[in-house]
Symmetry: C2
Subunit: 418 residues, 2 copies
Amino acid sequence: MSIQSTIMEMAYNARTVSKQIATCSSDQKNAALFKIAEKLKQNASLIQNENKNDVHLAKEKGLSNAMIDRLTITDATIASMIQGLQEVVQLPDPIGTTSASWTRPNQLHVSRMRIPLGVIGIIYESRPNVTVDAAGLCLKAGNAVILRGGSEAIHSNQALAKTIHEALAETGLPEEIVQVVPIPDREAITWLLHQEEYIDLIIPRGGESLIRFVVENSKIPVLKHYKGVCHVYVDDGADLEMAEKICFNSKVHRPGVCNAMETMLVHENIAKRFLPVMGKRFSDAGVEIRGCAETCRILPKSKPAKEEDWPEEYLDLILSVKVVEDMNFALEHIRKYGSNHTEAIVTQDYSRAQKFLKEVDSSVVLVNASTRFNDGGQLGLGAEIGISTSKLHAFGPMGVEELTTTKFIVLGEGQIRE
Amino acid sequence: MSIQSTIMEMAYNARTVSKQIATCSSDQKNAALFKIAEKLKQNASLIQNENKNDVHLAKEKGLSNAMIDRLTITDATIASMIQGLQEVVQLPDPIGTTSASWTRPNQLHVSRMRIPLGVIGIIYESRPNVTVDAAGLCLKAGNAVILRGGSEAIHSNQALAKTIHEALAETGLPEEIVQVVPIPDREAITWLLHQEEYIDLIIPRGGESLIRFVVENSKIPVLKHYKGVCHVYVDDGADLEMAEKICFNSKVHRPGVCNAMETMLVHENIAKRFLPVMGKRFSDAGVEIRGCAETCRILPKSKPAKEEDWPEEYLDLILSVKVVEDMNFALEHIRKYGSNHTEAIVTQDYSRAQKFLKEVDSSVVLVNASTRFNDGGQLGLGAEIGISTSKLHAFGPMGVEELTTTKFIVLGEGQIRE
């Protein structure tokens, strides 16, 4: 069978079984999630053996240590997949809830009932744990899902798929609710992106080039973020000790992720007090600073920032720093170079905090807290399927509810339009 | 200037002023809406003169009477545009409201604040009143808007644009908040659909071919419905008098619109009682019936329905009718031929009503009411900008709130991630 036919058949089957999972009870869905967790435990050594194949091939291909690290399924990876599923079980089931209701003057009773989106396609890179995490969230939200992981993880993902299918079968649910594309060729992605008749939403997770490829080729709506060029603005009304803690955490806690700070903006009134202390802490942590002229005067060891530094997502221990005349310049800088992902202000000034919250056009805007909190788990949505910086449907971290929509329910007693 | 440059400049300008309208107070926005209404009254004869040009050219081109009717701006059209704006003023302003809020265990306070989408593009056909209605709704929701009406309405739309610009200028708002594309060529639409950097959402309104053109060419997310193949299922538990009223209203009240019934499904137990009465009423109203074999037996004057009748949106006094063994066959028929738009059941049976509501995958599902209620105004959303049958972002009629999204607001006191 051609790649095109295989993918079309998968998409068609997903659409077919999506009707079934859409009307499953919470108990049935939770039973399936528990069963997947149980099977992961039982099949752990099978999964890890298949994963060894992938890791072996990845090493032969000369993949970076960081990539091999992400690819490897350790005992801890299995345990964390199981824990993730258990957490998803605990989440409230959004399906069937009514989010609003009202009565019209003609006594029609109108409400909005939450329903699944239908079929979701997830396209991701090397981490095989996404296979289980994403499958769990989609299933909880009553959707069928087609997963397409990185070609380098194909053995691991097929072993995980087998495990999930065993669990679904034992729970009496069709296996096609969770399908993993068995084809390593990129052509499979292109065909997947053309199944607009059967797939309702595509979520790509990975580097910017994968995401751009998906957006450019998709006939299906895509929820994504390209990058996170996150800013912290340290106002002259800031508690500087707090600012130090927040900036350090935003940059250094996990520099390789999308919600890490990439640019620090500092009010000129406090730059001479704040930058030397902050610069020392960053320098001790191995952070390279690329500063504006004023920053370089205050911190002579900094590299001068070039124009291309401001829109850059380093994903590394590198930070661009700019001294600004006041908050309006900070807002202007964020408008020009930001990525609508995550922005924070550190200040004790009430009005400026309010203005920053109102005017910054980012999916998460924080006052006096680390940018690292832009995360579904941290913000209380439960597990997250990704972060969206496009405004349609979802803006920010996406949890189970973002994998659903609402339909209108209208209860009448014979009303007609006059 | 080339068409491409003109459109790019319009999109760039819309993006620029969108920051300003996004943070306008409700009072400012309402003042602008009032002023547009006032100017429409003042400029009525100018607008109607320009409209006469369009109508004259349309007649020369031999456009149908129905199209010329839609194109003509009568005194009543002006009055209804003014009334529409006044109603939009009365709607609550969604911007800046917080739709949920909670506190995390670490005392971070999280909420979701409603914000505008940014820049919206509306592509529509002949009715010039859409220019004013859509501009009003987008402005209320804090968005900039680019409008592209049908080429046959270009003089009317430019006169309306001039009127809106005068009103915006007198309210102290930039004219670029509402822009009307002055280019009749279809190339202008194609370029508009490529401004993904500046435009957040495209809403096409018109016939299926326009909508398919937009979807196929757009790099920007599109909210749309292709067609409304709406069903009423008359259950054997129905109050047959009520069923008669509802089916008649659903088909005959305004047959040319998307929420009119196109197929009636009738339970076999009541077909022999219901169809003769209903058939008589339809026949008196000039409705042509295309029936399944059983329907043709009961109503011998019906035409036999062909397979291609079932997915057909007639938009006319034509109705396909099928007798079904029970509700499950009705549900199956709707799954196979429906367009996820509007479906109604007429029944007094509680369990079947519940099952129908739960299982039918349409943007509006009704019990004992006319399909004609799938309309933003009728359902209480205020004016509507269109109806979506795609599930992402909005499913069903879209009012002001559907032209917005939410961002996360996080208030901390120095919290960092450990």
